[in-house]
């Protein structure tokens, strides 16, 4: 959620920029044990502390060349369901929180000694801590529909000082501005809480934001809000009513976390990828401000699996992002222009095809800063044809890939659609295609026995499965198509 210099932070110089044509490049990565997922990261000194769902806390060292090395595989967290959120205080101390196995949460202090060992923790009954923010004097817990819980930092311990339980939709994260706490409050936008008296915080007002407000960061008098299935909005906090935003960037995916640097960049954990926005115009000409996409970088995952980038940090001139299956370091070469392909689907299933012909489409978009050209679109199977229209896209434009299947019988088919592009780091994109396979779930089967069918809560942006949320209940699940 936040980063700080902390111990030995000054030893790293600027990250190297690799040779090549791309403008966002990976410098290193580390994985995670099978079955475990990263939920959040924070940086203190030269270490990244990763919150995971089932292997506790992992500690990763940022090496001199900005590659990454795991130094602690798994440090225990208090009893419960792993670790959900982590943040860094201005002095480098980390605070971390998670869910208890019943109802309730724990919040602990984590010394910045790279051990990953929690020094002390407290528990909160009936509260689900969504995220933490630490100042020199306080730790603020955003607690969903239970609002805020505010702790005083006292000699290494946390002492609950106050709480504000009413008036929130879903308090998802907080940022401090002057004597206010700004709360990303789910579907209610942003709440402004008077914090002049920390023992008696009070909501002053709400202002709207687009989508479900999930994360908030402040720089100067501008608040940046990341919204689930929305994008990033920038609000002028000095305005009587900051809505509508000074600038807005509509995401191609779902913006679940963000980080800022001093050079006017916004780094967005955007589920499908890390997206980098240029926000410098907000500082230079606020009346004509824009949030402009500079580039994206998609974490590599096995073919057919969507990446899930859930947390992002900026430190030492580099970007660090947590995808469910790993942590990545990136560098941005802003003076380079590059095409950047984005596909709306990473796999295509035709289902059981009983007609003589069936077509399906995938939208593709150029998220880059130069023209994108598809030089070849092929399917490695004679029963399929594929076509791209158009084959060249200017920055920001969208096109359609149409794939047609003409079965000769009901035999199952599994193959790949292969795209050859001029995207510097996705020169060849392979998409699994299947047809006539019986992969669909049928009556009598367990719905998500491995928790593999993952959804996103509209109100919070949190990942959930039916198994996690409703095990032991009877559930009616209805799907509506969105327009």
């Amino acid at each position: 959620m936040a980063c700080s210099g902390g111990e030995s932070g000054s030893a790293l110089t600027a990250p190297p920029i690799p040779e090549g044509d791309d403008n966002v490049m990976a410098l290193g990565s580390v994985g995670i044990a099978e079955g475990a997922l990263y939920n959040d990261i924070a940086i203190s000194g030269r270490h990244i502390y990763g919150c995971t769902g089932s292997v506790g806390i992992r500690v990763v060292k940022i090496q001199n060349d900005f590659s990454l090395k795991t130094v602690v595989e798994s440090a225990d967290v208090p009893e419960g369901k792993g670790c959900r959120t982590i943040t860094t205080a201005p002095d480098g101390t980390l605070y971390v929180g998670g869910q208890l196995s019943g109802t309730g949460s724990w919040v602990g202090r984590l010394p910045a000694d790279a051990s990953g060992e929690i020094a002390k923790h407290i528990t909160l009954a009936d509260v689900q801590v969504q995220s933490l923010t630490a100042t020199k004097t306080h730790v603020i817990a955003a607690a969903g529909d239970k609002g805020l819980v505010i702790f005083k930092r006292s000699k290494g311990s946390l002492v609950e000082e106050s709480a504000l339980s009413f008036g929130f939709d879903q308090a998802m994260s907080t940022a401090v501005w002057q004597d206010k706490i700004l709360v990303a409050d789910g579907l209610s936008g942003v709440a402004v809480v008077n914090f002049a008296d920390s023992s008696a915080p009070a909501i002053e007002k709400h202002f709207n934001s687009y989508g479900t407000a999930r994360r908030i960061q402040v720089q100067g008098d501008v608040a940046y809000v990341a919204s689930v299935a929305g994008g990033v909005s920038a609000f002028d906090l000095t305005a009587a009513n900051p809505y509508p935003p000074m600038a807005y960037w509509g995401t191609h995916s779902s913006s679940v976390d963000l980080a800022l640097d001093d050079a006017g960049h916004v780094f967005v954990a955007n589920f499908d990828d890390v997206s980098i926005l240029d926000a410098s115009s907000l500082l230079e000409s606020p009346d004509d401000a824009e949030l402009t996409l500079i580039g994206t970088e998609r974490a590599e995952t096995p073919a057919g699996l969507n990446p899930r980038v859930v947390a992002v940090e900026h430190a030492f001139g580099a970007v660090f992002a947590a995808e469910w299956s790993g942590i990545w370091s990136y560098v941005v070469a802003q003076d380079r222009l590059a095409p950047d392909i984005h596909l709306t689907k990473s796999a295509l299933d035709f289902g059981m095809v009983t007609s003589s012909k069936k077509g399906k489409g995938i939208l593709f978009q150029n998220l880059g800063t130069e023209d994108l050209t598809l030089t070849s679109v092929t399917v490695d199977h004679p029963l399929f044809t594929a076509e791209a229209d158009p084959s060249t896209l200017a920055p920001g434009e969208k096109g359609l890939l149409e794939i047609v299947f003409q079965p000769e019988n009901s035999d199952p088919v599994e193959t790949y659609l292969t795209l050859v592009t001029n995207d510097p780091d996705e020169g060849e994109v392979r998409i699994p295609i299947s047809a006539n396979s019986s992969k669909y779930l049928q009556v009598g089967q367990v719905f998500d026995k491995d928790g593999g069918l993952i959804y996103t809560e509209h109100a919070t942006g949190n990942e959930v499965t039916v198994q996690q949320k409703y095990a032991g209940d009877v559930v009616i699940l209805a799907y509506f198509g969105s327009s």
Binding site: A347, Y455, T456, E457, S482
Partner: protein, 74 residues
């Protein structure tokens, strides 16, 4: 479940006589695993029993049939 804000949802709630739904988004395209052979992508309706097993699927919203399946599973 999944997506929201459309008249489809209002109609669904009216048919089922419910006030509130918990909305989830299917950003992982899970729905592709639930399309019946030859069926249309939406709507999809699934009833899951207490042990996690699917006891009913349909490519439509049939309040009577789904509710019967749910009551039978209780």
């Amino acid at each position: 479940m999944a997506a929201g804000g459309t008249s489809d949802i209002q109609q669904f709630k009216a048919n089922y006589g419910i006030e509130a739904l918990e909305y989830w988004m299917d950003l992982s395209n899970n729905y592709t695993k639930l399309i019946l052979p030859g069926g249309f992508p939406f709507p999809i309706e699934v009833v899951i029993d207490r042990s996690g097993k699917i006891v009913y699927t349909a490519n439509n919203y049939s309040a009577g049939a789904a509710l019967k399946a749910a009551h039978d599973a209780l």
